[in-house]
Structures are given as C-alpha cells and as structure tokens.
C-alpha cells in the first residue's frame, strides 16, 4: 500500500465521517429560528419556539411518556436479558446458537412487520395505546443488545473466580451477587443504556402502538413534522438529541471508569 492511497483514504474517510456526524446537528440552529418557518442559519435568533415547547403540556406529556416507556422497557430487557445471557453460557453451543438466533430475530424481521403484528394482537387486548404495550414492543428490539453485551462480559470472567466462591461454600445466588454481578457491571451498564436509548428513540413500533394515550416524543415529532412545519419540531428534535447525547457521553465515560476498575479482577 502506497503513501498516496493512505492520503486519499484519509481524505475520503474524513469526508465520510463528517457526512455521518455533522448533518445531525442541523436541527440545533433550526430550533433557534424566530420566524414561523425554518431557515438555516436563522435570520433572527430567538428562544420563541422553546417557549412554545415548554408551555405546551402536550410536549411535556410526550416527554414523560418517553421516559416511562424507556425505563419500563429497560427493566424488562435487562432482567430477562441478563438471566438469558447467564443461561446461554450453560447450554451446548448448538442450543446456544439457536436460542441466540431467536433473541436476535427482531433485528432481522422488518420492524414494520413486527409493528403491525403487535398492533393487531394488542388492540383487542386493550394493550394498544398503553405504556406497557409500547414497552413490550421496545423490549423486543432492546433485548439483543442486553443479551449480547452481558454475554461478552460473562465470557471475560475468569472461571476460577466463581469456582473459588463456590469452593468457599457460597450459594449460587451469593456467587452471582458478590462475584458475577460486579464483574459484568460494565457490560450490563452499556447494554441497559443502549436498551433505554433504543426505546427512547424508537419510531415505527411507537407510531403503531402509541394510540392517543401513550404518545412518546418521537411519535409527537413524527406527527408534528407531517402536520405543521414550524420550528417547534426542531426544538423537540434538539431536546431528543440533547438527552441522547448526554446519555451517550455518560455511558462512554462511565464505561471507561468501570472497565478500568474491574480490569485487574476480570479477564
């Protein structure tokens, strides 16, 4: 490989990375528009549309619904996913591959299909338009991240650690609580953060399951973009972006700290 190809790939690669990251932030200047239409960069800056957003109880309700669905979906997927990841370590590779395939399948089945199937089955059950119904749908999409990331953490544990605890007479539950859990904490934290964000950001399942009662922030933005095209949608998008950003950097920083703390014991 020549120096020329290296320079060319660096130029192309930098442009591609910029193309990946920079456009996302277009919603930020758009949210500071003063006019009732969106222009980037704004001709006159103001916080007018932030006032509209903050004074509208509908947006607050959507934000609250998003948090409630997100927390419930994270709880469901972390509890089920962690148990499954531990169980998967105890079965034969063949069975593990099959079960993992089942767990990962919601990522391969087109989401629109999952959405309409859930919508069809939940409507007569009264789960349509509820926080719980949405959380179930989101858990399906979030579970793979928990199972895989916890699984990776589990495999990085030195089996001698748990064996030592067992040899010293600890019950399986105690071994889990005092040895396994602290060691898989980084993977668990990463998996659950991504589970939360998967739910918090999710659009397609949410559009079909939200109904009138359980509109999350993405559903409300989706409707707003299609009905009115005012900067308040840019404000809502900026809020969604900001919350995600906080969580992303929080996880990256905390993940690094947790990893460096458990590194001497883990492996």
């Amino acid at each position: 490989m020549t120096e020329k190809s290296r320079v060319l790939s660096t130029i192309a690669g930098s442009i591609v990375l910029a193309f990946l990251v920079l456009p996302i932030f277009a919603v930020v200047p758009a949210s500071f528009n003063h006019a009732s239409f969106i222009r980037i960069p704004p001709e006159a800056m103001s916080l007018r549309w932030y006032e509209v957003f903050l004074n509208d109880s509908e947006w607050w309700k959507a934000l609250l619904a998003s948090f409630r669905v997100g927390l419930l979906a994270t709880t469901i997927s972390v509890v089920l996913g962690t148990a499954a990841a531990i169980g998967l370590e105890r079965v034969t590779p063949r069975i593990r591959a099959i079960l993992l395939g089942v767990v990962l399948s919601p990522l391969i089945v087109p989401v629109i299909m999952t959405s309409i199937a859930l919508y069809y089955i939940m409507r007569p059950l009264g789960l349509h338009g509820t926080i719980f119904g949405l959380a179930i749908g989101h858990s399906l999409l979030a579970l793979p991240f928990v199972v895989v990331n916890v699984g990776i953490s589990l495999r990085s544990i030195d089996p001698n650690c748990t064996r030592a605890a067992e040899g010293l007479g600890a019950s399986p539950l105690r071994v889990f609580r005092t040895v396994t859990l602290p060691l898989i904490l980084p993977g668990l934290a990463g998996g659950s953060a991504f589970a939360f964000i998967t739910s918090f950001d999710e659009v397609v399942v949410s559009i079909f399951l939200a109904g009138v009662q359980a509109k999350t922030l993405p559903v409300k933005i989706w409707e707003a973009i299609r009905v009115e095209f005012t900067p308040v949608t840019a404000v809502a998008s900026t809020v969604l972006l900001a919350i995600t950003l906080l969580l992303f950097f929080g996880v990256k920083v905390a993940g690094r700290r947790l990893a460096s703390e458990s590194a001497p014991h883990g492996r």
């Binding site: 690669g13 990375l17 509890v79 148990a83 391969i108 087109p110 858990s139 990331n149 972006l241």
Partner: protein, 289 residues
C-alpha cells in the same frame, strides 16, 4: 459407595439443568407470546379474506402496481447497499490505520449516529435539502447550479437519507476485516515485487472482501424494511414495501394484503440470509456499540 456418588452427581446435574431452564424460560416465554405469537397470528390473517386461501399473496404478486413497489424497494436497497459499501471501504481503511486518540475519536464519530433517533437524522436532512435550504444555497453561491435542485420528496432525498442512516452498519464489518489483515502478507507481496495495485487487488481486497459482503448484506437487509426515512424524504411515487404495508393497515384497512405483503418481504429477507447469511455476524454488530 460409587452408586451414592453417582446419584448425588445426577441430582446436582439435574438441579443445574433446572436452573438453566429457569434462567432461559422468561425470555422464551416473552419472545413466544410477544413476538412469535403475533407473527403467527399475522400469518393466519394473511390467509383470510374469503377469496381463496392464497388470494392475498396472489394479489400482491400479480398486480402490476404492487410488483413495481417490490422491485423499486429491492433496487433502492441494492443501490443504497452499494453506495454505502463504496463509501465505507476507504473510511474503514483510514480507521484501520489510525491509532490512539484519533482512532477513539473516529470511532465516536461512527458510533454516535447509531444512538441518535432515525427521526432526528431524517428530519435534519429535510432541513438541509429544502429548496431554500443550506445545500441549495451553498451550491448556487459557489455557482454550480442556477436553479435550486429539488432533492426532497423524490429518490435523491431517500438515497441521501438512507445512506446516511445505514452507512455505519457497512463500516463496522469492513473495519473488523481490515484490522485482521496481517501486514506481513502485504510486505511479502511488496517484497516479491508486486506493484501496489497488484498487492491491493490480489492480497488486500480478497482478504477484506468477506467484511464487505457482511456490511453490504446487513445494509441491504435493513434497507429492505426501511420505513421512516423513505416515508419522510420520499414521495408517493417512491413507494417502498414498508410504506405499502402501512398504507394497507392505516388507509385501506385491508389486513390480509398487509399481512401477505409482510410475508413476501420476510421471504426475501430469509432467502437472502439463507444464501449469504454465513457472512453475517449479527452478534458482532450488536456488540459494537
């Protein structure tokens, strides 16, 4: 004596089996009732409607309009996968050469978009590609265009938006393949007198091609079922299968057709996985966040 030990071991192993079953039962129960059961119900629904058991499947396959939607969706997914792979290859090469903080930074750039809602990413493109948006104004200020280009509600917008959203999925497997290339092989090729292009074509490209295949397939699969981006950036003349299914459910209220279209789509997805699934490593993609 030996018998007692054997019985005790049997008891321990059966208790271990019980524990394993107890750990796996909740997720299987959950997936069974909340994922597989609804899909089975959808399958049952696809055979209803009273005009013969397979009428819905036949209607989708035989109607000129629906067939065109499927062909367009396949072409769209194919093109998006090609463009994404072509853009991802040099980028992955750059990443594979980076070390230290520049690598961390580049990796953050790559992973960060995966955390941001597809909705926000797509909405950003509406703002950027508008008639009076920054892209058009920049292009006309530089003098490349006289008239503003219309890039929204047609295929241009859909392509830009979908490549943007799906590119990271192409990049990750290619990057992994490149990281695993042993530099000594390239040096050996150089040492034996191969020209750089020859080394690339005969050593580096074949070694990294499985990664390209994995990235390509993943993008292709995800693009096939895409809903939000084509719905927001495309128009009704760029109907995708996902939009068609939505139309059947929310506007036309013909559930059998929606279900049949879904299963046609799933069949395509499964055929793709059956023919090229060995390249696909979903676990790795899910773990890379």
């Amino acid at each position: 004596m030996g018998e007692v030990i054997a019985i005790r071991q049997l008891r321990i192993s059966s208790r271990a089996t019980m524990a394993t079953a107890a750990l796996l039962a909740p997720i299987l129960l959950f997936m069974g009732t909340c994922f597989i059961l609804p899909l089975v119900e959808l399958l049952r629904l696809s055979f209803t409607g009273g005009r013969g058991p397979l009428w819905a499947y036949r209607e989708i396959a035989e109607s000129e309009v629906y067939r065109r939607v499927f062909v367009n969706t396949l072409l769209l997914a194919l093109n998006v996968a090609i463009i994404a792979s072509l853009l991802a290859y040099p980028t992955a090469y750059m990443l594979s050469r980076l070390r230290g903080w520049t690598l961390s930074f580049a990796f953050w750039c790559l992973l960060f978009p995966l955390w941001i809602s597809v909705l926000v990413r797509t909405f950003a493109w509406i703002l950027l590609l508008e008639r009076n948006g920054p892209v058009n104004r920049t292009l006309s200020a530089v003098g490349i265009i006289d008239q503003p280009l219309s890039m929204l509600f047609n295929s241009t917008g859909v392509y830009i938006g979908m490549v943007h959203v799906l590119l990271p999925y192409a990049l990750l497997p290619i990057y992994t393949a490149m990281r695993n290339v042993d530099d000594r092989l390239l040096q050996a090729s150089d040492g034996l007198g191969a020209a750089p292009l020859q080394t690339f074509l005969r050593v580096y490209l074949p070694l990294t091609l499985p990664g390209v295949a994995a990235g390509f397939l993943l993008v292709f699969l995800l693009a096939l079922g895409f809903f939000v981006t084509p719905m927001m950036l495309g128009g009704m003349q760029n109907l995708t299968v996902a939009m068609l299914i939505d139309l059947f459910v929310t506007e036309r209220l013909v559930w059998p057709l929606a279900a049949a279209a879904s299963f046609w789509l799933l069949l395509i997805v499964l055929l793709l996985i059956a023919s090229a699934g060995r390249f696909l490593n979903l676990t790795q993609t899910v773990a890379a966040r």
